[in-house]
Symmetry: C2
Subunit: 289 residues, 2 copies
């Protein structure tokens, strides 16, 4: 298996994630080939120096690739894995950037022998989709989860690590099921809470539009994720349903406890609960602020 | 009643809000007098050029003031209103910066005749408390809610507007009850959601500490408010209980609807709901991003 510097990398899907990856990878591998459905995306990727060349033809894009990166929503990844299986050369590393990993890895397990599949999930992004929002620095400093299969060779995993590192990510090897449980709590749950908040605020604004005049940075930050791309989020929720429902239920219980304390006017109980939550946040997950 | 430029302004409470207000007001009024419980706060306010002089004695601080600004948590404001009523000179404007207004305005109504009370709530802040976090620009561009009482004179309201404008705020006149209902939806609800999220993530991290390794900007933004000062938030929740419980209940219903659609695997229903929420956010409350 080739080193990254000698590899031809095909990126399938030139949106925020694919475009940014191409921009960060160019010059660190032999060639970056962009594959998209629309000529416009390829033009933009070329204009933004994110790819060396582009094609609208999936087969043409992947058949001489040493690495194929699927940078599309999860359920598109699932379809593309089936399609490209017979098209890629032997020992080709096939990695995806999808936000859930269990179903992706299950589909990867069915790929033709000789293909080297590896699940991937860089923990970065924006709530704005599309190549217009792409930037070379998007992956810098992010945790880049890799979920190898039993069939993934040492060399393929090393190449995956090299790719993650080349764009500025910190590789983290996880089991796919564990990954999905973890991100349900810190990624999919926040999205649903942001949506519920936005829905509640919109309902309040129907009764009194002055709501938006008093909405400040606290509301904006807490509701920001509700602006995420719906198609991407649907794929995530539907391919991680059990873990998402479980973590939402845990969160509903937390909220219910706080509500009960408030309802009862139990000031000391509420103070203890809120202080303990506040300290818990300081303990983890607030880094990078 | 004097103009702002001729007024001596006493700021009671030199934390984030009081310190920042002083810094922004200095030079735009006759004098800024800081009143605090600890000598250390006064030293810091003087060192940061946020006040012209300071005192630990509430009576000394307010007895010659043309404007008294109470920059303390809501329930401290309630006590201070009683205390300063007999101390301030006739026609003194007494304004607070508390985050809920109904109970404050009710207490203001009981102040001695001649005092000019006015509820105030600048829609700005940070999740970090204390004078160390104060900055002169904190109020710039914020909506500065003013809740006059029937007894508040035109001149007193005009002086309140001038003060709000002098620090960079946009005055917005609201009825106290309406204010409390509005901020419950876009300020107190986001806080409780951030707390519930943080609690759920901490519970997940107890089972698997790798949670914090995959927590990215989405989690950090959505959970940020959970780091707010607990004493301040307790005062807010306990003085706005009914409106908070009502908006939390509306939000729980929104979340429940999304969960039901996901549980049922109703993809089209979920897409419609999430898209409509996303558009609702674009329609309002996302400005300033």
């Amino acid at each position: 298996m080739k080193q990254l510097t000698q590899s031809r990398v095909a990126i399938v899907g030139l949106g925020l994630m694919g475009g940014s990856l191409g921009g960060a990878l160019r010059g660190k591998c032999r060639e970056v080939v962009g594959v998209a459905r629309r000529a416009e995306s390829i033009e933009k990727a070329l204009a933004g120096a994110m790819i060396d060349r582009g094609t609208l033809d999936l087969e043409e894009g992947v058949r001489e690739a040493d690495v194929v990166v699927l940078a599309t929503p999860v359920r598109v990844v699932l379809c593309q894995l089936e399609k490209i299986g017979p098209l890629v050369p032997p020992q080709c590393l096939v990695i995806d950037l999808g936000s859930t990993k269990r179903e992706v890895v299950a589909r990867m397990a069915e790929m033709p022998e000789g293909v080297q599949p590896l699940g991937g999930h860089p923990m970065c992004g924006k709530e704005v989709a599309g190549i217009e929002a792409a930037e070379d620095t998007l992956y810098e400093g992010c945790t880049f989860v890799l979920t190898p299969l039993p069939r993934t060779s040492e060399e393929a995993l090393a190449l995956g690590r090299a790719l993650a590192g080349a764009v500025g990510g910190q590789p983290l090897i996880l089991d796919a099921e564990r990954h999905d449980r973890l991100v349900a709590a810190v990624s999919h749950l926040p999205y649903l809470l942001a949506c519920a908040l936005t829905g509640a605020a919109a309902a309040a604004a129907e009764a009194d539009p002055a709501v938006w005049q008093v909405a400040a940075s606290g509301y904006r930050d807490t509701s920001r994720l509700a602006a995420s791309d719906v198609t991407m989020m649907l794929d995530i929720l539907l391919t991680n349903k059990e873990a998402v429902l479980e973590t939402v239920s845990s969160c509903q219980a937390q909220l219910g406890d706080l509500v009960n304390l408030l309802q009862a006017g139990d000031e000391e109980g509420l103070r203890t609960a809120l202080s303990s939550i506040r300290q818990g946040r300081a303990g983890g997950g607030s880094s990078g602020q």
